[in-house]
Symmetry: C2
Subunit: 160 residues, 2 copies
């Protein structure tokens, strides 16, 4: 592998680790456990799960990897704070979308060359990207891996 | 910048973002706020701060960037769970070490070439590194940036 291929692989590992830890936590949780809030008055586990699914799904257009698979997640898990959405998704529905979204992301990541990783993401203008070339696809992936870890830290508070 | 320089810079940005968010949270906290637990019976903010300082300090030898600056943090913030250490550090002491450690890390990161980032870390054998070349210094930095975010997610639960 070249240096740039190795760096891309090292960065993707951070993503994979986040997904694998999240899977361990969410896929094994019972519907009752998913109803627990991570701290009094704070988000329930099911909300965090759906929220991560929504934010991951939004990476597809942001990274220029295709249209969103489940934009319907946003009104329940991003726009509305927990317990306020008029609509609900069951744990089985969230699970199905979560797996589908992450499989799509993995498949797309696997196709990217180092130069692809360094292309601009869609929320930055050509002009700004000239000045700040680190606002690239790799930056989005790393930041969203960090986002998974951020909420996993909260979710882990439910462990004894 | 070359592709590999850009990738290293993109990865270092994740670290810088984590440190900057942590600074915003911890440096502005009052001694009273630092005594709050992130959830009932869970770690106090001061413990999380000292814990992050200890783990960051340990990156120095792990990444081959020099000896530890404050190994004395470990018995209070790593070995002992919160509220059980026989010794205590004041918020001012933690702050001083936290700043010193992160400034040292930043200074060392700034000297690394892309090839340096891809050298093995000290907890992997030559033989294993041959097989898994992603067990490099960049992987440590990314994983520890994730570690900061993990605990920041918990600390942010104290915000209204």
């Amino acid at each position: 592998m070249t240096n740039e291929q190795l760096m891309a692989a090292t960065a993707v590992n951070l993503w994979n680790l986040g997904i694998s830890r999240a899977n361990k936590l969410f896929l094994d949780a019972t519907p009752k456990e998913l109803e627990h809030a991570v701290a009094p008055g704070k988000n329930r586990l099911i909300y965090i799960w759906g929220h991560l699914a929504a934010v991951n799904d939004a990476m597809l257009p942001l990274m220029g990897l295709g249209p969103r698979l489940h934009p319907e997640l946003d009104e329940v898990f991003i726009t509305a704070p927990d317990r306020t959405a008029v609509k609900e998704f069951s744990p089985a529905e969230v699970k199905k979308m979560w797996i589908e979204i992450n499989e799509k992301l993995s498949a797309e990541f696997a196709k990217l060359t180092p130069a692809d990783w360094l292309k601009k993401h869609s929320a930055v203008s050509d002009e700004d990207f000239q000045k700040e070339p680190t606002r690239n696809r790799m930056a989005i992936m790393l930041s969203r891996a960090g986002h998974i870890g951020y909420h996993l830290g909260q979710a882990m508070l439910l462990k004894p």
